[in-house]
């Protein structure tokens, strides 16, 4: 859709790097199952599946911060599983755009591997937009963004039954400011376990 400007591309690339390196302090870290940062209703979901999440968390802990090869076609053993807390969980989008940018493919592929290696694990994809445009249209746009991420996960073999999509449109901004920089942060899909 919209061609990305060079500074924007740099921003995205640096964000990806920061997230993959585990430096995404602003909500960029996959939350612990009982983290305070989780919105309460999602927390309630987490409570219902608390046993599963806990087990997966421990498994991930055992794997530690060991690096795992993105794009590695070999079978995945538990030893190569990523630590959830070190795996990026935010995918950003262009203005009024629901196409998954190439920069975020690897991040989504890593989640696909994690989900395939953890057959009981389920994933919530939250779609968000910036505040420009009407609220209802943005609700639809947020869903299309979340579904763009979902489609890649499905292509990689993750069963549809383990992925839930919720769009919040512009209702839950990551950054409440009314600036270009805030809008860049708010056009996102959050991957939540």
């Amino acid at each position: 859709m919209m061609p990305m400007t060079a500074p924007l591309r740099t921003l995205f690339l640096s964000l990806v790097f920061a997230l993959l390196a585990g430096c995404g302090s602003r909500g960029g870290v996959a939350p612990e199952p009982d983290s305070d940062q989780l919105p309460p209703a999602v927390e309630a979901q987490g409570m219902q599946g608390a046993d599963q999440s806990g087990a997966a968390g421990q498994e991930a802990d055992r794997a530690g911060a060991e690096s795992f090869g993105v794009g590695d076609d070999g079978a995945i053993s538990s030893a190569t599983l990523p630590d959830l807390s070190e795996l990026g969980t935010l995918v950003y989008f262009g203005f009024d755009d629901d196409n998954l940018q190439p920069e975020f493919r690897d991040l989504v592929l890593a989640h696909a591997r994690y989900l395939i290696a953890n057959p009981t694990q389920t994933l919530l994809l939250e779609g968000h937009t910036d505040e420009r445009g009407t609220r209802e249209y943005n609700l639809a746009l947020g869903e299309r963004r979340a579904k763009a991420v979902r489609n890649l996960l499905l292509l990689e073999g993750v069963p549809a039954s383990r992925i839930r999509v919720v769009s919040y449109g512009e209702e839950r901004p990551a950054n409440p400011s009314h600036t270009e920089a805030a809008w860049d942060e708010n056009r996102r899909v959050e991957l939540k376990y």
Binding site: D36, P39, P40, A41, V42, E43, A44, Q45, M47, E131, R132, G133, T134, R135, E136, Y137, L139, A140, L141, E143, R144, V165, V166, S167, Y168, G169, E171, R172, P176, S177, H178
Partner: protein
């Protein structure tokens, strides 16, 4: 008829970690309803500030009403404020008046010509033996030297404010020829607090901002409030279960019902003019499409079928078609679908973003969100000629709602980094803002006229 949970005026949806276990137990008990009663919630109150009025406002003298004042409630002052806030009147202050007549026999027109009053309103408030209030008012044209109308109204003491609004409506209609809307109400969403303290509220208030109360409070977003014809029921979208669902609620009893909770989007409800159907957006079939739900038979009918986004349906006043927003042309534009034939026509052509269409009551024009030079404004388009007029000079304007007399548009905008409500007349001459005491305010919905 509404089936569902009986609740008081105020409902709270909670999900804080401290109360989570109790809450889950309660949820199990209620079979999935995540709703608790709460007391003493104060609503986020709005005030009105006129920013632009007509060039030559009508001058009116509203003499302080003689007789009992209930808890300091000054009927004449409420009428004065209403007329002033309409942007079309200049209300003369009591200290500038030369006399204080209470009825026709005491009126000396010369006293009012001298101070430049074109119209004069006088009245009396009396307590009746059964504890109610009786208000008598009379309206005069000073220029013609003649009494225009008079009326005796009775109400309970608690409804005296509403009675003052009804008198304002009569005076406004008599002088301008336009139906008054002072006795109407508005719904609006507020967001207060940050992080774990963040709360979304659905509020109900009189059109002048008074009597504000919270209808629903939730830690999850609340969206898209809309009135049913008659003003007794409302519909809205709440994320309280972790996903959007559409609720219909009766205002007087608080009884509400969750009417749809399909997987995916359930949003943008709008009642048909006969109140029997609800237009809405569902993405259950993979893509946001517009549906009609017959509220009694529960029959669901799909109206649109396109891979692009279709949303924001609104019935035309005759109930035969829906206006809606679609991205099918590559950019959001306003379309119209005829409900009998299913034929879809594009309506908006000026600019690269036109959305959230709201037809005016006469059906001849549509108010919408319009982007010009990258800025979102409220605009009105003539449906026959196609010309578009931008009404607002604010930015990030959205969620227009039209007053039942078709004269004013209430909308949401930004001021100093906060969401506020503002209003503009359809002729563009009157502008006012409704700042809130707290939080971000959004998504206003103007009630229909109530008998």
């Amino acid at each position: 008829m509404l089936k569902g949970w009986r609740m008081g005026w105020t409902q709270t949806v909670r999900g804080q970690s401290g109360t989570l276990r109790q809450w889950l137990r309660l949820r199990a008990l209620l079979g999935g309803a995540l709703v608790l009663l709460a007391q003493g919630l104060s609503a986020d109150m709005l005030t009105i500030e006129i920013t632009e009025g007509v060039d030559q406002p009508v001058s009116i003298a509203v003499v302080p009403f003689a007789g009992a004042m209930d808890d300091g409630l000054d009927v004449a002052q409420i009428v004065r404020n209403n007329l002033r806030r309409s942007g079309r009147f200049r209300a003369i202050e009591p200290e500038d008046m030369l006399s204080s007549p209470q009825n026709a026999t005491q009126v000396v027109y010369r006293d009012w010509r001298l101070i430049g009053a074109e119209y004069l309103l006088v009245g009396v408030v009396e307590g009746t033996v059964d504890g109610r209030q009786r208000v008598t008012y009379e309206l005069f044209s000073v220029l013609q030297g003649k009494r225009l109308r008079g009326e005796v109204l009775t109400s309970s003491a608690t409804q005296l404010r509403n009675l003052a609004h009804r008198i304002s409506d009569q005076v406004y209609a008599e002088i301008t020829g336009i139906e008054g809307i002072f006795a109407t109400r508005i719904l609006y969403i507020t967001e207060v607090g940050v992080g774990d303290e963040r709360r979304y509220r659905l509020n109900l208030a009189d059109a002048d901002g008074y009597n504000a109360r919270v209808i629903l409070e939730s830690v999850e977003p609340i969206m898209s409030p809309v009135w049913a014809p008659g003003g007794e029921r409302i519909a809205y979208v709440s994320f309280e279960t972790g996903a959007p669902a559409i609720y219909v609620q009766e205002l007087s009893s608080g009884v509400r019902e969750r009417v749809t909770h399909w997987p995916g989007i359930n949003s943008a409800p709008d009642f048909s003019p006969d109140g029997k159907q609800l237009a809405m957006v569902l993405s259950k079939d993979g893509n946001p499409e517009i549906y009609l739900l017959h509220l009694e038979s529960r029959q669901l009918r799909r109206v649109t079928d396109h891979f692009a986004i279709d949303t924001e349906p609104r019935f035309t006043p005759d109930g035969r078609a829906l206006l809606f927003t679609s991205g099918r042309g590559g950019r959001p534009q306003v379309y119209r679908v005829d409900l009998a034939s299913g034929r879809v026509q594009r309506v908006s052509f000026q600019g690269d973003y036109n959305a959230r269409p709201i037809p005016l009551p006469d059906g001849r024009s549509v108010v919408m969100v319009h982007r010009r030079d990258g800025v979102f404004h409220i605009a009105v388009q003539d449906l026959e000629r196609g010309n578009v007029r931008v009404l607002t000079d604010t930015s990030l304007d959205e969620s227009p709602s039209v007053a039942p007399n078709g004269e004013l548009v209430l909308y949401a905008t930004q001021s100093r980094g906060r969401g506020i409500l503002a209003a503009v007349s359809v002729d563009g001459k009157v502008k006012f803002r409704l700042p809130s005491s707290t939080g971000d305010v959004r998504e206003p919905a103007w009630s229909p006229l109530t008998p």
